[in-house]
């Protein structure tokens, strides 16, 4: 009988440890979610990939980086087999950058170098997320979702430039670009 007591007590201790671990993990997700506003892309916004090129937010003349009237950096891009448009993106360091992107054909996605900028681009939907780049420099931006036989060749670049340089270059209202022409 006492052996069984020991066993039951050991089992119970372990159950508390397990329950506590899970509770801490969930709590961490809640706290970091609220406190740092670190959130995955979260709104369900649709778009017709057949008319992207013709009109609306993602026409060619609207892609790239701009400074919005309220002083925020906004990047609009599209992915298609097997390139991003634009192929080189300029973003400021040390200020929030909002990305809006979608795919024109199949599923794509991208990650920017070693940063946390990481999203899926699903045809029919607009992906939106905001992130901050901490250090200036050039990063690679591969398509990280299999999108066909040219998938491995689908790499763009991201130039993170100092905040002041970005603000002075963006002031004349133009789209910023680093695409080699």
């Amino acid at each position: 009988m006492s052996a069984e007591h020991v066993a039951v007590a050991a089992e119970r201790r372990w159950a508390y440890i397990v329950g506590g671990t899970i509770a801490v993990l969930v709590l961490m997700m809640i706290v970091t979610g609220i406190h740092w506003a670190s959130m995955p892309p979260s709104r369900v916004e649709t778009i017709d990939p057949r008319t992207l090129h013709v009109s609306g937010e993602f026409v060619e003349s609207n892609l790239g980086t701009t400074l919005t009237p309220d002083g925020k950096a906004m990047v609009r891009l599209i992915a298609q087999q097997y390139s991003f448009e634009p192929q080189c993106i300029v973003v400021p360091a040390a200020m929030p950058v909002t990305f809006r992107g979608t795919a024109t054909d199949v599923v794509h996605g991208f990650i920017v170098g070693t940063t946390n900028a990481n999203v899926m681009l699903i045809p029919g939907f607009v992906a939106t997320f905001t992130t901050t780049f901490h250090t200036a420099g050039e990063q690679l931006m591969p398509c990280h979702e299999y999108c066909g036989t040219g998938h491995e060749a689908m790499w763009a670049r991201v130039q993170v430039i100092p905040r002041d340089e970005f603000l002075s270059r963006a002031r004349n209202g133009e789209r910023l670009s680093c695409v080699r022409r």
Binding site: R43, V44, D48, Q81, M120, G124, E152
Partner: protein, 539 residues
């Protein structure tokens, strides 16, 4: 007795031969993308190979192992002849025909959509029909497991269902509900397009349906391994099972919690809102509970074995364990890989940390550790353990078994640890090759070389495994009666709730519907989300 012997052998042989072929494809992929080889001339061959590797390793091999093991468990644990032997053979042939039907367009390059399908890419229709046949064949098994359990219960009123059969039927019910997600995706969304009846498809909705299957399928793969942890390992190393009840609790918790969590695969997707992503993240944390309970129970069982062998002290008993026993090695390796893989999984499921590694090589490292590592090494153990029963062979060579298991463990660590590392550096997965001349990628080249050598060890280990089974001397010995682990406390009286599945199946279905119902209805009713299909092999 044991009328299903040939049936089980047929399942295992098809599973392991397919596994041998698919592992060669996997190693070839690592080799061509490493700096050791010229880049593949045609990247399409690479994606063809990934599709073949994934379909066999993800669908064909584990399904056949679970089915074959399930038939064996039915007879061995219930001690009654398998009911529905003909139906079982029919299910087996459906799986085989389905495998060939799916493999043909893959080999011809008409189905390079990888094993997760990727709508709006659409493969040759026979690829999907083949996979449907594999799944339907496995549903025969699910029905038979349920029928056999109920026949036994009728003949043994008030008795406790043996733990092995309890886990087996839990796995069957888990699978049938798990497969509903991908089955719906294929039947409702993909097949009409693949047949040419439609030319648009809702890619976002299809991904949500697939996510229903995508995570829970891992728990279906895992069930045979867990059944082996609880009912084979303690006996094989001369110990006792610490708690029979804990096994039952773990199995039913998998039923309840493995389904409603798949949206954590879609954290970076735009078509699911933040709320449901969070709910699925929380429930993913819950599904680690049955694994943590199992780790505790099995370690306790192993400790009992050590103390029975004279082990003393708080940690000194570890020395007393039978370390030359292959089964002891296997369970140790499985737990080490489960530990690393599980820690990686906690990162994947975290709402925030996932952003760092989503769709990088990290993910490949994580699921290879869990599935190809912890789970497949237990499949080896299951085959080694059942082989004398199935073939009446002489005892298998223990030295070779040890070498085979060591190679698998070392190979898997060498394969996956570099993947985790470069995943943190942002290396994307599913690439036919990398341009190592780029200064940002050049420092990562060594990791791919390392993984190639890890893969080589795995190939050698896999072939050694097949060699050990193939050269067993059939009919050379009488294995005697098969025994499962004996629990520490006898007799086992499971509470009624842990002797049946009614409540747990109801919870499984209810939780899935609450967690998937809204996102699915929302997406299905959104206007204009269908996008043009892109057919593979057209261009």
């Amino acid at each position: 007795m044991f009328v299903a012997r040939k049936l089980v052998l047929a399942h295992f042989w098809v599973a392991f031969v397919a596994f041998g072929a698919a592992i060669v494809l996997g190693e070839w992929q690592m080799f061509v993308r490493s700096p050791l080889a010229q880049w593949v001339n045609n990247p399409e061959h690479y994606y063809r190979s990934v599709t073949g590797h994934g379909v066999v390793m993800g669908y064909v091999m584990p399904t056949l192992v679970a089915m074959g093991f399930g038939y064996a468990l039915t007879e061995l644990s219930l001690k009654q002849a398998l009911i529905g032997l003909r139906w079982a053979w029919a299910g087996f042939w459906l799986v085989v025909i389905g495998t060939v039907t799916a493999a043909t367009p893959i080999a011809l390059g008409q189905a390079s959509v990888l094993y997760t399908f990727y709508p709006p890419m659409i493969a040759n229709v026979f690829f999907y029909l083949g996979i449907v046949l594999v799944v339907v064949g496995s549903w025969f098994w699910v029905a038979l497991m349920s029928i056999n359990l109920h026949a036994w219960k009728k003949a043994h009123p008030g008795e406790t269902v043996p733990l092995a059969m309890f886990g087996n039927v839990a796995g069957a019910y888990l699978w049938v509900w798990t497969s509903v997600g991908a089955a719906t995706e294929v039947l409702v969304l993909i097949l009409p397009v693949a047949l040419g009846l439609k030319d648009t498809i809702d890619a976002g909705l299809a991904r949500v349906f697939f996510s229903w299957t995508l995570h829970a399928i891992v728990y279906f793969w895992l069930m045979p391994a867990y059944i082996a942890f609880y009912t084979i390992v303690p006996r094989a190393i001369g110990g006792r099972l610490y708690s029979d009840t804990m096994g039952r609790v773990a199995f039913v918790l998998f039923l309840v919690f493995s389904m409603p969590i798949g949206i954590h695969h879609l954290f970076a997707d735009p078509q699911v809102g933040a709320g449901f992503k969070f709910v699925h993240a929380t429930l993913t944390a819950m599904v680690s509970v049955p694994t943590l309970l199992t780790v505790f129970t099995i370690v306790a069982s192993v400790e009992i074995a050590a103390r029975l062998r004279g082990g003393k002290g708080a940690l000194g008993w570890v020395k007393a364990l039978p370390w030359d026993e292959p089964f002891m090695l296997a369970v140790t390796f499985a737990f080490v890989m489960l530990g690393f893989g599980g820690a990686g999984g906690l990162v994947n499921m975290s709402y925030q940390l996932n952003e760092t590694i989503h769709n990088t090589q990290w993910v490949t490292g994580h699921f290879h550790l869990i599935f190809a590592g912890a789970i497949v090494i237990m499949y080896f153990v299951v085959a080694y353990d059942l082989w004398p029963q199935l073939t009446r062979c002489a005892p298998l060579p223990r030295g070779l078994m040890r070498v085979q298991l060591w190679l698998w463990f070392v190979g898997m660590m060498v394969l996956t640890m570099p993947w985790h590392w470069v995943g943190l550096l942002g290396m994307p997965r599913r690439m036919a090759y990398y341009d190592y001349t780029h200064p940002a990628l050049q420092p990562q080249a060594w990791t791919v070389v390392a993984s190639t050598f890890g893969g080589l060890a795995l190939v050698v280990s896999a072939f050694l495994f097949i060699y050990i089974l193939a050269t067993a001397k059939r009919g050379a010995a009488d294995p005697g009666e098969y025994r499962f682990s004996v629990p520490l406390h006898l007799p086992v009286r499971a509470p009624a709730l842990l002797n049946g599945f009614a409540l747990w199946v109801a919870m499984m279905i209810g939780l899935t519907i609450t967690n998937y119902g809204f996102p699915i209805v929302q997406l299905a009713t959104l206007p204009d989300t269908s996008v043009p299909a892109i057919r593979i092999g057209d261009r």
